[in-house]
Symmetry: C2
Subunit: 126 residues, 2 copies
Amino acid sequence: MKITNQRNTILKFLKDNQNHPSVEEIFEKVKRTLPRTTKATVYKNLKTLMIHDIIKEVNIKGVSRFEAKIDPHHHIICKNCGKIIDFESEELRNFALQIIGKQKDFTIDSAETNFFGKCNMCDDSK
Amino acid sequence: MKITNQRNTILKFLKDNQNHPSVEEIFEKVKRTLPRTTKATVYKNLKTLMIHDIIKEVNIKGVSRFEAKIDPHHHIICKNCGKIIDFESEELRNFALQIIGKQKDFTIDSAETNFFGKCNMCDDSK
DNA sequence: GTACGTGCAAATGATTTGCGTTAAG
DNA sequence: CTTAACGCAAATCATTTGCACGTAC
């Protein structure tokens, strides 16, 4: 895999942002430094980076969002606005894997928990 | 919300199938009994049923799939073919909610774990 | 120098919308 | 009767593709 400016910019952006940006947001960011960049290039790069297991896609409320692949972690998702933040807990992951144990139809190698609720911005009671 | 043949067929299909069918699969099923049905109708119904919290959408490898909303549960997903099966564990859910505790930026009300691996069909080592 | 990446435009595929007609309550 | 749902075609939106040209290595 070659290291190009476009590719580097995308990856750096994802590493600096725990925001799980959408394709649109990534595209806007890259264009700021490399104005001739097109969405097709962004899509191609995201795909390549995913194939090489460097980034990961998460789908929130029908929108594709991306994160630089760091240690396994969980997500807290706002059911209203789609905001998503990371939550680390190896303990939870181990508990999940232990509780599921051996499955006759599946060989399981990872577990991730999604927490759903409302962020403070969307929570009317606050 | 009116009860129509199309709507009923979709809902019954989802209740009878733990397969998490895609829009295409649901459409094919409905057409068998009600041949004039179009995809637009299927989409409209899926949206309506979701708004009324009767069904739920899950996105697997970029494909929208649907399930009749039953008790909260977890998913086991094949990273290769996208096959998905349900896994019940109130214990896991409670553990997750307990471990996350109070969050300053979020009011959390549910937790669901996704397990990833390979199903027997896709697992070469079997 | 060669293969991979980029930029562009066109193609595809999924989902939505508008609107006249039909059917549920 | 009245309003929501249906069926159809057209529109929109996200994502992919093909290809000529550029650039990393």
